[in-house]
């Protein structure tokens, strides 16, 4: 570092709050679409895959291999053109959320005990009713766990996307700029805020998991 560089320059921070906030907003813009789109597509795929057990093996194989690819490499290869907006970043980010969510969603569905499904069918639930009123609610805990993981991961991946080009912005932008200009305040801000975001999101999702499943909190205590 150039001599005399402060590790953390508070006055600079206070003076650039607007820019910092803009980065945070950009970061959200980077992650929201991939997460939402990822959830929807994964849900559809999962419901589809559960009906067709034969699809498990190939899909698992493919997602497994894709998962091994280091993210930067994947981003670097998938990045078609520079100069476009968020969409360029959204594609690889969505791909990663799909990898995570599909696996967790199908796990959620297969975690529903078969006797419950049999009882539901035997009592006269239609296919649709069974899906929405029985399978889905019971799959939710594992699904939320998956969404939690996907969110946290995407927040992290979004910081890397910025490495590829500065049109995406976000907190990764702060980090990269800070590094390239040897300006610790910037990259520390970017880093710490992204960590706070990720850990905070994780925490929130844990609460959400507990909130949504009152029946798992109720443990056998009476007898």
């Amino acid at each position: 570092m150039p001599p005399g560089t402060k590790i953390f320059d508070i006055s600079w921070t206070l003076g650039h709050l607007a820019q910092i906030w803009e980065r945070i907003v950009q970061h959200f813009q980077l992650i929201v679409v991939p997460l939402l789109v990822g959830i929807v597509i994964s849900l559809i795929l999962a419901v589809w895959a559960v009906r067709r057990r034969w699809a498990y093996a190939p899909i698992t194989l493919i997602t497994g291999v894709l998962y091994t690819i280091p993210s930067l490499a994947a981003f670097a290869v998938l990045r078609p053109i520079t100069g476009l907006s968020f969409i360029t970043a959204w594609i690889p980010l969505t791909a990663y959320t799909l990898l995570i969510l599909f696996r967790n969603f199908t796990a959620g569905f297969t975690s529903v005990p078969s006797e419950i499904l049999e009882a539901a069918e035997g009592m006269g639930y239609t296919r649709r009713q069974r899906l929405f009123r029985v399978e889905l609610p019971l799959a939710i805990p594992l699904m939320i766990a998956g969404i939690r993981l996907a969110s946290v991961t995407t927040i992290g991946l979004a910081t890397i996307v910025a490495v590829l080009g500065d049109q995406f912005g976000g907190l990764g932008q702060l980090i990269t700029e800070g590094i390239q200009t040897f300006f610790p305040t910037k990259y520390l801000l970017g880093a710490v805020i992204s960590v706070v975001l990720a850990v905070g999101a994780d925490f929130l999702f844990v609460r959400l998991e507990r909130l949504i499943t009152p029946w798992s909190r109720a443990r056998a205590g009476a007898n």
Binding site: G64, S71, V152, Y187, G190
Partner: protein, 258 residues
């Protein structure tokens, strides 16, 4: 495409500091050391927690938080610290910039999967076996080494697999700090504009090849360590993903890839 092939076959790219062999070596060195450090910390703790089942909540929560932290962020946070320490003359400032911070970050982030893997592996051991061991008069340490570890080893290697993949990915990004590793091909390429395209793709291919190769190797080891009775028969869908309710094995544990 041809640019990439040309790049990969160009003998210039196979020699010297910026050559593929050297970059590969740099990559392996930092990854290996980070995983080693993480293992030295995580595995003993995991063994303790797994064997005694004490403090598991704390450990699991810690692991979850560790899993959430973005690696890129983690990598830059130590920089001011390591650079300041460098001024004391402990080590070269360059070392304190391009090696230490990512190394520390990688080791730190590799701890959760190794910890969870070790813990889960031990927990998966049938309690009856342990009781039988105690009944035969084995000491706790012997129970651990003779009964629990052999059975848990495959799941522990699973945790190692996850940790290693994570570390390889992070090392790729660490090149942004100016250090070494296969990530340099990507970053150098980015800095050269259109001309650098082959370098970018070549770097991506190389680092992916490394990751996939290491993963396959570890997967083989994992299967080899699985007690024969528990192995899935050939031909069924196993490749790393078992039912989610079972203990995560290697590629089944989904973590932060960045």
């Amino acid at each position: 495409m041809d640019g990439v092939i040309a790049f990969l076959t160009d003998p210039k790219n196979w020699t010297g500091t910026t050559g593929i062999p050297n970059r590969l070596q740099e990559h392996l060195v930092i990854c290996g050391l980070a995983v080693l450090l993480a293992a030295l910390i995580a595995i003993p703790i995991g063994l303790y927690i797994g064997h005694t089942n004490r403090g598991s909540n704390f450990a699991i929560n810690l692991a979850n938080i560790g899993r959430a932290i973005p690696s890129y962020a983690m990598m830059v946070i130590p920089v001011p610290l390591t650079l300041t320490l460098a001024e004391t003359g402990l080590y070269d400032p360059t070392f304190g910039l391009v090696f230490l911070p990512p190394f520390l970050a990688m080791a730190f982030l590799a701890i959760p999967p190794l910890l969870v893997g070790t813990y889960a592996g031990l927990r998966a051991v049938d309690r009856d076996l342990i009781e039988a061991g105690r009944g035969m008069g084995l000491q706790e340490r012997q129970i651990l080494s003779r009964i629990e570890l052999p059975i848990a080893s495959s799941i522990i290697v699973g945790g190692l697999r996850t940790a290693t993949l994570q570390v390889i990915a992070t090392a790729t990004i660490a090149a942004i700090l100016g250090g070494g590793g296969l990530g340099r091909f990507i970053f150098d390429g980015l800095n050269q504009g259109v001309v650098g395209r082959p370098s970018i793709y070549a770097g991506a291919i190389l680092v992916t090849g490394l990751a996939v190769g290491v993963d396959l190797l570890l997967a083989r080891i994992q299967t080899a360590l699985t007690p024969v009775a528990l192995r899935k028969p050939r031909g069924t869908a196993s490749r790393g993903w078992t039912r989610f309710s079972e203990v995560p094995r290697g590629g089944g544990e989904v973590t932060n890839l960045a």
